[in-house]
Protein backbone atom coordinates (compact mmCIF):
# COMPACT_ATOMS: atom_id res chain seq x y z
CA UNK A 1 0.00 0.00 0.00
CA UNK A 2 1.27 3.40 -0.89
CA UNK A 3 0.43 6.16 1.54
CA UNK A 4 1.35 9.74 0.68
CA UNK A 5 3.73 11.46 3.03
CA UNK A 6 2.73 14.52 4.97
CA UNK A 7 3.96 17.67 3.31
CA UNK A 8 6.51 19.77 5.08
CA UNK A 9 9.03 22.44 4.43
CA UNK A 10 12.31 23.30 6.08
CA UNK A 11 15.14 25.70 6.18
CA UNK A 12 15.26 28.97 4.32
CA UNK A 13 12.19 30.20 2.53
CA UNK A 14 13.98 29.93 -0.79
CA UNK A 15 14.29 26.17 -0.47
CA UNK A 16 11.53 23.68 0.07
CA UNK A 17 11.34 19.94 -0.11
CA UNK A 18 8.51 18.44 -2.12
CA UNK A 19 6.56 15.55 -0.70
CA UNK A 20 6.87 13.78 -4.06
CA UNK A 21 9.59 14.24 -6.68
CA UNK A 22 8.37 14.39 -10.28
CA UNK A 23 10.96 12.48 -12.30
CA UNK A 24 10.89 12.02 -16.09
CA UNK A 25 11.25 8.38 -17.09
CA UNK A 26 13.92 9.45 -19.58
CA UNK A 27 15.97 10.64 -16.65
CA UNK A 28 15.89 7.16 -15.11
CA UNK A 29 17.09 5.75 -18.43
CA UNK A 30 19.90 8.31 -18.47
CA UNK A 31 20.78 7.35 -14.91
CA UNK A 32 21.05 3.66 -15.77
CA UNK A 33 23.03 4.42 -18.93
CA UNK A 34 25.50 6.47 -16.93
CA UNK A 35 25.83 3.79 -14.24
CA UNK A 36 26.38 1.04 -16.81
CA UNK A 37 28.88 2.99 -18.84
CA UNK A 38 30.85 4.12 -15.84
CA UNK A 39 30.61 1.11 -13.56
CA UNK A 40 30.68 -1.51 -16.33
CA UNK A 41 28.99 -3.97 -14.02
CA UNK A 42 32.15 -4.11 -11.95
CA UNK A 43 32.27 -0.96 -9.84
CA UNK A 44 29.91 1.23 -7.91
CA UNK A 45 28.84 4.47 -9.53
CA UNK A 46 27.04 7.66 -8.48
CA UNK A 47 24.94 10.34 -10.14
CA UNK A 48 23.04 13.35 -8.82
CA UNK A 49 19.51 14.37 -9.71
CA UNK A 50 19.07 18.11 -9.90
CA UNK A 51 16.23 20.52 -10.49
CA UNK A 52 15.34 24.21 -10.33
CA UNK A 53 15.49 25.77 -6.90
CA UNK A 54 12.03 27.24 -7.40
CA UNK A 55 10.43 23.90 -8.26
CA UNK A 56 10.75 21.68 -5.20
CA UNK A 57 9.04 18.74 -6.88
CA UNK A 58 11.01 18.98 -10.11
CA UNK A 59 13.95 16.80 -11.10
CA UNK A 60 15.06 17.46 -14.65
CA UNK A 61 18.76 16.65 -15.00
CA UNK A 62 21.32 14.00 -14.20
CA UNK A 63 24.81 15.06 -13.21
CA UNK A 64 27.60 12.48 -13.27
CA UNK A 65 30.25 13.70 -10.84
CA UNK A 66 33.88 12.73 -11.35
CA UNK A 67 34.63 10.03 -8.83
CA UNK A 68 36.84 7.12 -7.99
CA UNK A 69 35.21 3.77 -7.36
CA UNK A 70 35.78 0.17 -6.47
CA UNK A 71 33.44 -2.81 -6.28
CA UNK A 72 32.62 -1.74 -2.73
CA UNK A 73 32.39 2.02 -2.81
CA UNK A 74 32.97 5.40 -4.43
CA UNK A 75 34.27 8.81 -3.53
CA UNK A 76 33.38 11.98 -5.43
CA UNK A 77 36.42 14.05 -6.36
CA UNK A 78 36.55 16.55 -3.49
CA UNK A 79 37.83 19.42 -5.64
CA UNK A 80 34.82 19.13 -7.97
CA UNK A 81 32.18 19.73 -5.30
CA UNK A 82 32.88 23.43 -4.71
CA UNK A 83 32.67 24.20 -8.42
CA UNK A 84 29.45 22.23 -8.64
CA UNK A 85 27.96 24.24 -5.80
CA UNK A 86 29.05 27.45 -7.53
CA UNK A 87 27.31 26.32 -10.71
CA UNK A 88 24.14 25.44 -8.79
CA UNK A 89 24.18 28.91 -7.23
CA UNK A 90 24.71 30.62 -10.58
CA UNK A 91 21.94 28.67 -12.28
CA UNK A 92 19.54 28.75 -9.31
CA UNK A 93 19.36 24.98 -9.18
CA UNK A 94 19.77 22.41 -6.45
CA UNK A 95 20.48 18.72 -5.91
CA UNK A 96 17.39 16.73 -4.97
CA UNK A 97 18.79 13.19 -4.84
CA UNK A 98 22.02 11.21 -4.80
CA UNK A 99 21.78 7.90 -6.67
CA UNK A 100 24.38 5.15 -6.43
CA UNK A 101 24.76 1.46 -7.13
CA UNK A 102 25.50 -1.58 -5.00
CA UNK A 103 27.06 -4.82 -6.27
CA UNK A 104 24.26 -7.25 -5.45
CA UNK A 105 20.66 -7.34 -4.34
CA UNK A 106 21.41 -5.66 -1.01
CA UNK A 107 20.28 -2.06 -1.18
CA UNK A 108 20.53 -1.26 2.50
CA UNK A 109 22.30 1.99 3.26
CA UNK A 110 25.80 1.34 4.51
CA UNK A 111 27.26 3.34 7.36
CA UNK A 112 29.31 5.25 4.80
CA UNK A 113 26.15 6.05 2.79
CA UNK A 114 24.60 7.43 5.94
CA UNK A 115 27.56 9.49 7.07
CA UNK A 116 29.02 10.99 3.89
CA UNK A 117 26.22 12.17 1.56
CA UNK A 118 26.47 15.34 -0.49
CA UNK A 119 23.44 16.77 1.29
CA UNK A 120 21.87 15.90 4.62
CA UNK A 121 18.87 18.16 5.05
CA UNK A 122 15.25 17.02 5.39
CA UNK A 123 13.68 16.09 2.09
CA UNK A 124 16.92 15.07 0.38
CA UNK A 125 16.74 11.60 -1.20
CA UNK A 126 19.32 8.85 -1.49
CA UNK A 127 18.56 6.07 -3.94
CA UNK A 128 20.43 2.76 -4.07
CA UNK A 129 20.23 0.66 -7.24
CA UNK A 130 21.06 -3.08 -7.00
CA UNK A 131 23.29 -5.17 -9.29
CA UNK A 132 25.36 -2.19 -10.46
CA UNK A 133 22.24 -1.04 -12.39
CA UNK A 134 22.77 -3.79 -14.96
CA UNK A 135 19.25 -5.17 -14.79
CA UNK A 136 15.87 -3.72 -15.82
CA UNK A 137 15.60 0.06 -15.97
CA UNK A 138 13.35 0.39 -12.99
CA UNK A 139 13.39 1.18 -9.31
CA UNK A 140 12.01 -2.29 -8.59
CA UNK A 141 14.52 -3.75 -6.17
CA UNK A 142 15.98 -0.33 -5.44
CA UNK A 143 15.73 1.46 -2.13
CA UNK A 144 14.83 5.09 -1.60
CA UNK A 145 15.89 6.84 1.60
CA UNK A 146 14.74 10.26 2.68
CA UNK A 147 16.71 12.39 5.07
CA UNK A 148 14.51 13.51 7.94
CA UNK A 149 15.34 15.50 11.01
CA UNK A 150 16.41 12.35 12.86
CA UNK A 151 18.32 10.75 10.01
CA UNK A 152 17.71 8.56 6.98
CA UNK A 153 14.36 6.80 6.64
CA UNK A 154 13.57 4.19 4.00
CA UNK A 155 10.53 5.12 1.92
CA UNK A 156 8.41 3.33 -0.62
CA UNK A 157 9.25 4.48 -4.13
CA UNK A 158 5.62 5.27 -4.91
CA UNK A 159 5.43 7.50 -1.84
CA UNK A 160 8.16 9.82 -2.96
CA UNK A 161 8.61 9.52 -6.73
CA UNK A 162 6.08 10.26 -9.42
CA UNK A 163 7.09 9.35 -12.98
CA UNK A 164 6.38 11.88 -15.70
Amino acid sequence: MCVRAMSFSYGPASYAAAEVLAVPRALLEETFASMRSCGDGKMECVVLWTGPLGGPEQVDAVVAPPHRATRAGYIIEPAWVTGFYAELRRSRRTTRAQVHTHPGANVEHSGIDEDFPLVAVPGFMSIVLPWFATRDISLDGAAVYEFKSKGWVRRQVCDVISWT
Binding site: G11, S14, E44, Y74, T82, T94, H100, D113, P117, S149
Partner: protein
Protein backbone atom coordinates in the same frame (compact mmCIF):
# COMPACT_ATOMS: atom_id res chain seq x y z
CA UNK B 1 32.15 60.59 9.14
CA UNK B 2 29.21 58.30 9.57
CA UNK B 3 29.13 55.22 7.38
CA UNK B 4 25.86 54.87 5.48
CA UNK B 5 23.69 52.20 7.06
CA UNK B 6 23.66 50.03 3.96
CA UNK B 7 27.46 50.09 3.73
CA UNK B 8 27.82 49.28 7.40
CA UNK B 9 25.47 46.33 6.99
CA UNK B 10 27.49 44.94 4.13
CA UNK B 11 30.70 45.28 6.06
CA UNK B 12 29.90 42.50 8.48
CA UNK B 13 28.15 40.01 6.26
CA UNK B 14 29.16 37.24 3.94
CA UNK B 15 27.08 35.00 1.74
CA UNK B 16 27.21 31.29 2.46
CA UNK B 17 25.91 29.08 -0.30
CA UNK B 18 25.13 25.39 -0.02
CA UNK B 19 23.56 23.17 -2.65
CA UNK B 20 22.31 26.22 -4.57
CA UNK B 21 20.77 27.99 -1.57
CA UNK B 22 22.18 31.26 -0.21
CA UNK B 23 22.17 32.67 3.31
CA UNK B 24 23.57 35.96 4.47
CA UNK B 25 25.60 35.44 7.62
CA UNK B 26 26.57 38.28 9.91
CA UNK B 27 30.01 37.94 11.41
CA UNK B 28 32.70 39.80 13.27
CA UNK B 29 36.13 39.74 11.62
CA UNK B 30 37.81 38.95 14.93
CA UNK B 31 35.50 36.14 15.96
CA UNK B 32 36.74 32.57 15.62
CA UNK B 33 36.53 31.06 12.16
CA UNK B 34 34.99 28.01 13.81
CA UNK B 35 32.13 30.22 15.04
CA UNK B 36 31.49 31.29 11.46
CA UNK B 37 31.25 27.64 10.44
CA UNK B 38 28.86 26.94 13.31
CA UNK B 39 26.69 29.89 12.27
CA UNK B 40 26.57 28.60 8.71
CA UNK B 41 25.64 25.08 9.81
CA UNK B 42 22.87 26.51 11.98
CA UNK B 43 21.57 28.70 9.16
CA UNK B 44 21.22 25.63 6.94
CA UNK B 45 19.74 23.49 9.72
CA UNK B 46 22.52 20.96 9.41
CA UNK B 47 22.60 18.96 12.62
CA UNK B 48 24.10 15.62 11.60
CA UNK B 49 27.81 14.94 11.18
CA UNK B 50 28.64 18.63 11.50
CA UNK B 51 32.32 17.79 11.85
CA UNK B 52 32.37 16.60 8.24
CA UNK B 53 31.53 20.09 6.92
CA UNK B 54 33.74 23.04 6.10
CA UNK B 55 33.53 26.41 4.41
CA UNK B 56 35.25 26.72 1.06
CA UNK B 57 36.24 29.79 -0.90
CA UNK B 58 35.08 30.40 -4.47
CA UNK B 59 38.54 29.36 -5.61
CA UNK B 60 38.12 25.99 -3.93
CA UNK B 61 40.25 26.46 -0.84
CA UNK B 62 39.01 25.01 2.45
CA UNK B 63 38.82 27.68 5.13
CA UNK B 64 40.89 26.87 8.24
CA UNK B 65 38.89 26.75 11.44
CA UNK B 66 41.75 27.87 13.62
CA UNK B 67 42.25 31.55 14.30
CA UNK B 68 39.85 34.35 13.51
CA UNK B 69 37.65 34.77 10.48
CA UNK B 70 39.88 37.63 9.35
CA UNK B 71 43.01 35.51 9.79
CA UNK B 72 41.32 32.79 7.74
CA UNK B 73 41.04 35.29 4.91
CA UNK B 74 37.32 36.05 5.17
CA UNK B 75 36.36 39.51 3.91
CA UNK B 76 32.98 41.24 4.05
CA UNK B 77 30.90 40.41 1.02
CA UNK B 78 32.74 37.15 0.33
CA UNK B 79 30.85 34.17 -1.01
CA UNK B 80 31.73 30.94 0.80
CA UNK B 81 30.44 27.45 0.10
CA UNK B 82 29.30 25.16 2.88
CA UNK B 83 29.84 21.56 1.89
CA UNK B 84 31.02 18.25 3.26
CA UNK B 85 34.75 17.75 2.90
CA UNK B 86 34.19 14.20 1.65
CA UNK B 87 31.27 12.72 -0.31
CA UNK B 88 31.38 8.96 -0.52
CA UNK B 89 29.31 5.83 -0.41
CA UNK B 90 29.69 2.11 -0.37
Amino acid sequence: MAVPAETARLHDEIIVSSNGVDHEIKYEPHEAASALLEAALNAFHIHDARHTYALWTESGVELPITGSAQEAGVRPGDVLFLRPSVVRGG
